[in-house]
């Protein structure tokens, strides 16, 4: 929500003025909904062994996205948070991604495709890379989680041996 708070109060008025004077392609309502009411904005404790953190960036547009997942013992994602600094499509993509991965197992979440996100948000071709960013953020977060789990089991086996 703090992302929104940082927007100036006069923005609404100016955007209206601009949109009246300049013909432009507008965002799909689904994007605007996620942009105005982003779900799951925030952070999880990245040192928690149950939390996987993925940070990805888009070098072509300078957007950065952080996506975190919390996984329980059964391998189900119980919580997901994101923080994105970038365009509306990138924010909406990551917001939707966190909504979708919640309640899914790790394997189900890995099967999520950027095309699904793009389809849901009706992203135009020039914004497809935003959905790709969200997919890669999920993958990065889950791989961070699995690395942590492996380390944990290694540590456990090490302590058992000694």
């Amino acid at each position: 929500m703090s992302l929104l708070r940082s927007l100036p109060s006069g923005l609404n008025r100016t955007t209206k003025l601009i949109s009246r004077s300049v013909p432009s392609v507008s965002y799909h309502p689904n994007v605007i909904d996620h942009y105005e009411n982003p779900r799951n904005v925030g952070s999880l404790d990245k040192n928690d062994p149950k939390v996987g953190t993925g940070i990805v960036g888009a070098p072509a547009c300078g957007d950065v996205m952080k996506l975190q997942v919390k996984v329980d013992e059964q391998g189900r994602i119980i919580d997901a948070k994101f923080k994105t600094f970038g365009c509306g499509s990138a924010i909406a993509s990551s917001s939707l991604a966190t909504e979708w991965v919640k309640g899914k197992t790790v394997d189900e979440a890995l099967a999520l495709k950027n095309t699904d996100i793009a389809k849901e948000l009706c992203l135009p071709p020039v914004k497809l890379h935003c959905s790709m960013l969200a997919e890669d953020a999920i993958k990065a977060a889950l791989s961070d989680y699995s690395i942590k789990q492996k380390q944990k089991t290694n540590e456990n086996s090490n302590t058992n041996e000694t």
Binding site: S2, S6, G10, I55, G57, V64, H129, M132
Partner: protein, 249 residues
């Protein structure tokens, strides 16, 4: 009539100084023909390379000039000019901003559509095309990031739209910087400090990019330009914040 007269005196007075400058600027392609053709130039301007340049108005065969040397009307520019040729500076990342500004103003003094409001449709059209081309060249070359990306493009390299997750440490730094800005939203002093810090980073990157281009290490230049893109995004955010808070420096 006045325009014509003033133009004649202009040509006479500044023959050596200005016209030579313009010739080198817009027409240095005569010296070096190995430029990469630019798509938009091909789209907007039709120019036949094979036939000798003839004035479209009086058919006089003219030699590389912005204006026909006989009837003094504006001519079409050749197609494969880089932005560096258009402004008239050497193709290098190291540019003098004051030089670009000066040459830009000189070109616009000659080419601005306002000067052609009483001229023929064709000349109006030509001046519009040329003037917007000069504008594009100017805004690209004056900006450290845009200039670098344009130079990559001239080398046949573009920054891909692929996700970049390799350099996690760097991305973390960018993330933290953004979070810092987010927290400082209403703190004028903090914002000013962040703007200064960011400018230092951008300047350092520009120096590194200039070095890389000087050593003709395009890949190295590219990796620094990618970093610059992230800091440029931060810079734009800060600028917007500054504007909203009414900070004037």
């Amino acid at each position: 009539m006045y325009l014509r007269k003033s133009f004649l005196t202009f040509t006479r007075n500044y023959n050596v100084l200005c016209l030579n400058l313009i010739q080198q600027n817009l027409y240095s392609y005569h010296v070096n023909k190995n430029y990469v053709p630019l798509q938009f130039l091909i789209n907007t301007l039709q120019y036949s390379n094979n036939s000798p340049s003839k004035c479209w108005n009086c058919n006089f065969v003219y030699k590389s000039d912005l204006f026909c040397s006989k009837c003094k009307v504006l001519q079409e520019p050749p197609e494969n000019l880089t932005y560096f040729d258009i402004i008239g500076i050497s193709r290098s990342y190291d540019v003098k901003i004051t030089e670009i500004q000066k040459k830009y103003k000189e070109l616009q003094k000659l080419l601005h559509p306002d000067k052609y409001s009483t001229k023929s449709e064709k000349e109006k059209q030509l001046s519009e095309n040329l003037s917007s081309l000069v504008n594009k060249a100017y805004t690209t070359l004056i900006h450290p990031l845009k200039r670098g990306l344009y130079m990559l493009k001239l080398n046949g390299i573009t920054i891909s739209e692929e996700t970049d997750s390799l350099n996690a440490e760097f991305l973390m730094k960018i993330m933290e910087k953004n979070e810092e800005i987010e927290e400082a939203t209403n703190n004028v002093e903090k914002i000013k400090k962040l703007v200064q810090d960011n400018e230092i980073i951008l300047n350092n990157l520009a120096k590194k990019i200039a070095d890389a281009f000087r050593q003709e290490d395009i890949e190295k230049a590219k990796s620094f330009l990618v970093q610059m893109k992230y800091y440029d995004s931060i810079n734009n955010r800060l600028k917007k914040l500054k504007h909203d808070l009414g900070i004037i420096e």
